[in-house]
Assembly symmetry: D2
Homo-oligomer: 332 residues x 4
Amino acid sequence: MRALAITGEFGVERLQWIALPQERPGPRQVRVRMLAAAINFRDMQVIGGLRQVPTPLVPLSDACAEVVETGEGVTRFKVGDRVMPVFAPGWHSGPQPQGDTLMTLGGPLQGTLREEAVWHEEDVVAAPAFLTDMEAAALPCAAVSAWNALFVAAALRPGDRVLLQGTGGVSLFALQFAKAAGASAVLISSSDEKLEKARALGADVAINYRRRPDWGKAVLDEAGPVDCVVEVGGSGTLEQSILCLKNAGHISFVGFLSGTVPQFDLGEISRKSVRIQGIRVGNRDSFEAMCRAIVSAGIRPAIGATAKFGEARQALANFRDGDHFGKVCLAF
Amino acid sequence: MRALAITGEFGVERLQWIALPQERPGPRQVRVRMLAAAINFRDMQVIGGLRQVPTPLVPLSDACAEVVETGEGVTRFKVGDRVMPVFAPGWHSGPQPQGDTLMTLGGPLQGTLREEAVWHEEDVVAAPAFLTDMEAAALPCAAVSAWNALFVAAALRPGDRVLLQGTGGVSLFALQFAKAAGASAVLISSSDEKLEKARALGADVAINYRRRPDWGKAVLDEAGPVDCVVEVGGSGTLEQSILCLKNAGHISFVGFLSGTVPQFDLGEISRKSVRIQGIRVGNRDSFEAMCRAIVSAGIRPAIGATAKFGEARQALANFRDGDHFGKVCLAF
Amino acid sequence: MRALAITGEFGVERLQWIALPQERPGPRQVRVRMLAAAINFRDMQVIGGLRQVPTPLVPLSDACAEVVETGEGVTRFKVGDRVMPVFAPGWHSGPQPQGDTLMTLGGPLQGTLREEAVWHEEDVVAAPAFLTDMEAAALPCAAVSAWNALFVAAALRPGDRVLLQGTGGVSLFALQFAKAAGASAVLISSSDEKLEKARALGADVAINYRRRPDWGKAVLDEAGPVDCVVEVGGSGTLEQSILCLKNAGHISFVGFLSGTVPQFDLGEISRKSVRIQGIRVGNRDSFEAMCRAIVSAGIRPAIGATAKFGEARQALANFRDGDHFGKVCLAF
Amino acid sequence: MRALAITGEFGVERLQWIALPQERPGPRQVRVRMLAAAINFRDMQVIGGLRQVPTPLVPLSDACAEVVETGEGVTRFKVGDRVMPVFAPGWHSGPQPQGDTLMTLGGPLQGTLREEAVWHEEDVVAAPAFLTDMEAAALPCAAVSAWNALFVAAALRPGDRVLLQGTGGVSLFALQFAKAAGASAVLISSSDEKLEKARALGADVAINYRRRPDWGKAVLDEAGPVDCVVEVGGSGTLEQSILCLKNAGHISFVGFLSGTVPQFDLGEISRKSVRIQGIRVGNRDSFEAMCRAIVSAGIRPAIGATAKFGEARQALANFRDGDHFGKVCLAF
């Protein structure tokens, strides 16, 4: 069974193809054959050595896989079912568990960039039947984060206005979910071309933040104050986000692009009764509720680029260097 | 200024046309000219003498009206604006206020079945521009109740499944709001004709509870367990509602059709961790949020019958005796 | 290893002493030696055949036990630790899981009335060191239900007023927790002697409902309207509970004494915006939070009677027939 | 009627004694005679010209006053009652209202540093009978902020651990409320003497942050991770607060000492699922619930210094320059 792994040195170019022994599923475990995987920004941080992980490590947390063998006592799935792994195995319900390190796929746990895996049946979720393998593979990390940002941390309602930043995976899923929930969406990007694509996906107002560095003001002018922000940005976005937020508004802080030293007066947080909720992907309950919504609304993830498993290293390099709109997926 | 009022004796046939002096708006008050009004089941209880109210009393709580004069210091509205009154003047935000009697229009406060009224500017809400007078008049009581049932008491999300009972105002508004929020809707009725109309309004599954007295089971069979029920029924519905509810599911108890001696084991409430939330219409915050959703989704209230102000007594009698689908409205 | 079990016929007198083979702990499991157990009303229903359970079944869900062996990979506990089992193994966080049957100890799962058990380390909780074995054994079912009723379903605050019914385990724990949270407590009972004991435990107002069948009115007169009710009663209590509740008040419905055909107008639920939340004991997060509070406040469970494991049948009969104040516990 | 006012120039030394005409109460208004007032840090910012306010302006938001005349239709109070004004008149329930400027006493609305005022009866709250005038005067701003921080934004439970910063009004009230709620409290200060006083008020762990600049680590070492932080600090505290917070923990951001450019990686907010809720004092519902708790628990505000109304300018200067433990109050 082949895998592409961090074997010691970090960096996309230093990933190594390794052979791993086939595992057998224990009680309540399933053995799966990977059908597709997807790349997240976080994976690039892991591969790049910006997060502490044990090595050798198989990166990536996203996949769609087929159950090929079931262990003793498995009742949730049968051979042939298509499943997706939960980002943090064991986190099924409720708030983020205590502990310094959340056990997540693709670091510190072994990830999905391999031909097979053995997972506990409680740690995988049924893939929506109408989605392709690659579309299903796109869901575990970015889509669950977006779902949590809008419907667990916040409680988006029809008629609410939500602000989305950029066209990464979380923002595009949030756009699709917000529209499915009857909310209106304002999206900012530095690219007119991407703004056009975002409009096609449902964005009601699209603002080029390069032309409007005071984009918080632009949001107020062109759309009005927002009820909810999905904050994914780095330095400087939080101030503008708060600027265009309603009093007692909500900010879901995914914030993976940070590094982040915001330079502004946090006093606005109390002056406007702002709520900021940090989002760490989400639990299995959220994943399953999201899948029901995806089926109900017929949402198809935006796929930006695809490659074969054997070309994974090149695909990762393209993801790092490139400028994609939608998820980058790998077919096995 | 004319009004139709309960002057002592109860009953639709005993309502009397009376003349009232024109009032002038005080500080922060507006004088309005009624454009349209709408009838709720509750109004029939008031007129029928089933609720304790002072007399003489002008019934009805629903209206759309035009501001014709503004008092000192009015800033929220100007002459010519179309407004709707809030059901319980003074209740602007937060939970139902304390006190034995909630001060609501159409009893104990003077209602909307009159040509003019003077209201505090904080107690009226802007009517969505795209709605007709009668459509806007349909909103204050039933629509706000439905909104509260789904988005304040509960937090309906895309992909959730909601159960609606019958085709009264609350249920039809809840149907439209649930669909706008990306939820799927199961609706029960005793009439195939009404079920057909409900399907046209968006109901995903429609069940005739006369043919399926065990309709809770039918919901499970044809749709699956529901996340949320808008309970408006009388004797017997609550048991079936709980039967088809998910564990930890939610019931918004509007329950105005009751009289109600349910004959069943309440132990199911704890066995399934059911939450039941009583709904008393709602506050102004809810009304305004709902209007944003109505505008955003382009929702038009279902109007079942219309009449002129001068024919109000007959329209009330028809409402009482009849079998309408959608709100019954009066044009002034 | 001995156990007292339902082997086919129901009824306390028909419980049989049986011998069970010793089990070895598998991966992440612990083998424990029972130190003490406690009886709940629910156990009497199971033993009495009022709940469907598989047989042979070892009843009881409550215990304090000592870890005597740890399986592979156990990290939460070590040999010698005192632990208590969670009522529903696997339910660690979040709302009650879906599924027709919640897997709980003492039916359908094997219970605690046996000398040893093997449990997953994630399904046991550390016993507070300052409690005796029997005090710790009293916690898993009744105390967690009371905790959930006040702090998960509701959010009791200092200065709130809570209504408690009777002197069963849930009500007495709720009394102690409410006082620890700075709330005031009104307790009703049919016995002046028990009311006196409840006062000693902290009850601020004590009402004999036999002398005041209109006890809802008595609560209003002697204490004022309450913010929260822990409803454990059967026929008739719910109506009086709602009567003395504030608008927008909360009722935690434990309701295990029901059988229950309430004879009253449920319309009060909407008129007062009442929230009713069914309580099915609770999850491990609640159990652990509760233990922190027990340690912090130095709360000792009220123990009403004790017996030896070998006298379990007699103790169960006494529980069924008797009139105890506080938990009935068994020492192994 | 005398008042001390900002008449144009800012600064404590430039406050002017002015004479104001006596007002008469209009419908539902009460005329009150000030008995005592209290100073908040915010008042110093207003007086110092750091907040935009209209002039002439009577500063201060805190007071206890006696009703000396009631307008038409007043039912909540009668002549002789002792009342306290709500910080933001009109904000009675629910979240902070929309609008750029919250209308609050002491700027932009006329404040309490005057012998008389006329307020709407809905904008004052009954003073707890057992408190002195000065103790009651200490409540409207700092105490309501602390209450909101612990029981509205968060839901503190017995056994929870809360972190408090410094010994200003908000932190000391939060300390007293947290202890009344059965929580344990960790308090940091730069003064051993103040830490000693905080211990006397109930602090379980007291840490001198001057000796432990890494005080977040010290909190973990000496108390363990906290469930809730009442964040009042300026530059740098937020990072340490998050460091010692549990996963999914809560920070109530009062933050009035800021100016604030935090220098740290906000990514911790998402990594730990932190929730940050801005606190803008609070509504009347909160004020009244807090008063019930104060009565129930017998909480007496810590008074740090007192002066006479005629010495207000000196008292304000002392507040600005000084180093007090507890509220600084003025007697009229």
